[in-house]
Amino acid sequence: MDLEISRRNLLKWAGFLVAGFTLPKAIKAKVLSPQEKPLPRLDSEAHRPALCKLCPALCMLQIRVVNGKPVGVSGMPGHPLSQGAHCPKGGAILQDLYHPDRLRSPIRQRGTKGSAQWEKISWDQAHQILLDKLSHLLKRNRPEALAILAAPIRDIRHKIQKRFAQVFGTPNFWEWNWSLAEGPLDAFRLMHGSSEGLFYDLQNASLIVSFGWDWLQSFPSPVEAQRAFSELRRARPERRVRIVQIEPRLSTTAAKADEWISIRPDTEGFLALGVAYVLMDDNLYDKNFAGRWTSGFEEYRKMILREYSPEKVSEISGVKTKQIVEIARQMTSIKPAIGITQRSSLFTQIAVHSLNALVGSIGVRRGVLSSEAERYQLTLPSAAIPKPRTAPIASLHEIPERILASSQSPIELLWMERVNPVFLSPQGAQWRKALERIGFIVSFSPFIDESSQIADIILPPHHSLEAWQYGFSPTLQGQGIISFAPPVVSPLYDTGDHGDFILGLAKSLGGRIASALPWESFVESLEKAVQKVRAEEIMKKGGWWEYVGESSGVKSTLKTQTGKLALPTGELKPKGRDLPDASHPFHLYIHVPLAFSFGEGAHLPYLHSLAGAHLGEQWETWVEMHPAAAEKLGIRDGQMVWVESPYGKIRARARHYQGIREDTVSLPFGLGHTAMGRYSEGIGANPADLLAGRTDKSGQPIWQAVRVKIYGD
């Protein structure tokens, strides 16, 4: 035994010796001392930071990457916006990245516009085509014939695009906006002088009276809204918030509120003024605030007391007089109270916001606050920027009208960046016609969507997980958050960075344009911007920092020339309304499920399952009807019906729902794509097809003022 073992040992040692002489050093390290683990683990797992760009909130995510493949999503712990959580959309970001119908290379329209005959082109070809078009415009001295329509994402790429428009010499640069997911920015602008930095202090509120805003589902920053609600409910045991939801429909917010007040669509403004009447008639309003901080108060008071008695308002809105008085009582007894509304008609926005002035909730905690954070956004190094020769041809939502009104389109070259007005706007049909009249359209879009269908070339941008990301987001606490994330994966397809693409064009155009945009790549410009604030380290690893920008006091919210809050009584004149008649007996109320917030998301299969959870509805468009109203028409629950307005008709499944008024029906927005890949094309119907396509005085499209009829086959 012993002999054998020692013999074996002898052989082994001889082997080692030989090996020691013959093998090079590196091999020795690897073969003879395996305990050093020279090779990486086979199943490497990492959690990488990423910035979600599925909506403008810009939350930070953590992507679980196993063996180089992203396989899981969670919120970034500690990030002020996400705090470790995410919204439904953020959770589905991998479906967006790995969508089977993502464009894999730039494509060019071969036939006529909209003929859907696409052919592949290279990025160089795309560069050359655009360069020719742009130089042609410069040669003819018609720079304003270039127009850029950009996504509302606070990013350096956005700033590059804007600067390109400026130095190219066109005033026609627009940022897309979608009013169903925004606060009352127009009222803020008119009354405070500027809407910048104003926000509702939702997370600390004592009483939230929402005039028609389903804010849990369509807040501009979804994660924050859910968190604010949760904290309001349970984080402070000593004081329970009261949430009152005034809406035609029992929405998710209404279901979660303490009280739901059912109201006729588009009459929330009247109700607010009825409440204002009670406040002033009973002398319950904040006289101190009204006297010291408002201008035009007497006029306002006279108008309200003349026109908006609770009885009259009750008749218009369908809300009982008793309830109007009750709202007024609550708003004065629970202090401070905030009345919130979304970016609906200018009338409603101003009416609701004037209530905040009456109860003195402006510039105070739990009311309306302002933040300076916006000015901490990263900026490009300064450059000489010429003054525009002309004004923009129109405001964003008036573009189609403006183009269709002229014999020849004032825009010859349109650049669209991740926007889809044909689908998202109630003026979709007009947008389509207007786009068809524009000479040449370039669309930066990851999918062939409804607007890109009319484009001449489509350039697919990198997914937000495939490229460097920077984002700026204001929070509900008044902070400004600057976040960075390096790419999580390398690009899956032949996609490009639109920042780089514009910089490339600028370089080739030369002259003033090249010197204002002198960087080789988007990342270089980002580095330059980051160097100014000395945050290179954070940028490199991915991360964020925050600026505290909140300022208290009424004064900080007011940027008007008089230094006072304007009460534009002129906008509060009673307006006529179309009432349901025999031919179109129902009001149409359009709601936006959180899954399709900002109107987007129907291309992601997991989001389809969420849309109509309260009725078990998914993967189709349904129309909510009160059972009593449906029975009168003989419409069964689950029957397919037509919903017809004077402007169009769509098909939907009728669903009996007790959470809707008898005189109103409701349709979800987000479905009914005619393009954008297999999971959205041909599924459901788009309620925007039923709308008149008019714009309000606020400049925003009108969503909630159409009458419809419903019938079976």
Binding site: D43, C87, P88, A225, S230, A255, K256, Y606, G616, W619
Partner: protein, 269 residues
């Protein structure tokens, strides 16, 4: 008679021996099984979940997080029309109307992880069972698709795969490697993200410590922006779930059935 008697005695003898043999054999099998159960009884944890309906906003981030974590089917209009889209965690709506007064609650419904689960009792193949830490499991390879458990579950939280799931090539890339992709003919259900428990255990062992609160987090809890979902060990009286489970607001779904769910809800208000 005598001969017959003898035969009868023989018969009884042999029959007895046969029965005895079979009994002895099967009892050995049972003994082995009993041993398993002994081993299993060592499980110290009892995993449970508290869902605070007062915090919950009905946003359904949990539903998406659950789908992503557990490679759930994409679904489509055809499946939706037949009610065959599988979501282990879904929102159960309840609308109560009395005249003009309407209340609606949106209740997130994962598997209730009963302590006395009706589904495991009817499973002929032990494909569904309760594991030593109280999680009601499902082993797809044992499942024969009889759907007894689907019918037995009073919470409708077991789902049958009626067809081969459709996964375009690209959508297979982000599969969670820790979770298998189910196929036609098997039943599936929420397993409290069991794969995360395995990972948490591995990690704790690697660091030479016991599993602690916060190591094992389900996907729905991690995603919830309203922090309405709390998950943890019900056996640990110090844990957040145990504390919340004692709240005066707590209730269990269909408690009267005696299923003893380990998902506990907290009422609104």
């Amino acid at each position: 008679m005598e001969i017959k008697d003898q035969n009868r005695r023989d018969f009884l003898k042999w029959f007895g021996a046969a029965v005895g043999g079979v009994w002895a054999f099967t009892s050995r099998a049972f003994a082995a099984r009993g041993e398993d159960e002994q081993v299993q009884a060592r499980g110290k944890h009892r995993w449970g979940m508290v869902i605070d309906l007062d915090r919950c906003t009905g946003c359904q981030a949990c539903v998406v997080a659950c789908s992503v974590e557990n490679n759930q089917m994409l679904g489509g209009p055809e499946e939706a029309a037949l009610g065959r889209v599988i979501r282990w965690l879904k929102i159960l709506p309840r609308t109560e109307a009395e005249g003009s007064h309407i209340r609606q609650s949106l209740v997130p419904m994962p598997c209730q992880q009963c302590e006395d689960p009706p589904c495991t009792r009817v499973c002929p193949t032990s494909a569904t069972f309760m594991n030593p830490e109280g999680i009601v499991g499902q082993v797809y390879d044992r499942c024969i698709g009889c759907r007894y458990c689907v019918n037995a579950c009073p919470y409708t939280c077991k789902f049958f795969n009626w067809g081969e799931p459709q996964w375009p090539k690209e959508t297979q890339t982000p599969f969670n490697p820790d979770v298998s992709v189910r196929y036609k003919g098997v039943v599936e259900k929420c397993l409290f993200c069991h794969q995360r428990l395995q990972r948490a255990k591995d990690k704790a062992r690697e660091e030479g410590r016991k599993i602690e609160e916060g190591d094992y987090v389900t996907a729905c809890q991690a995603a919830c922006p309203a922090q309405a979902i709390v998950f943890g060990d019900l056996n640990d009286p110090e844990s957040e779930v145990s504390r919340l489970a004692l709240s005066h607001r707590s209730f269990k779904m269909l408690e009267e059935l005696g299923t003893k769910p380990k998902v506990i809800y907290l009422r609104e208000g």
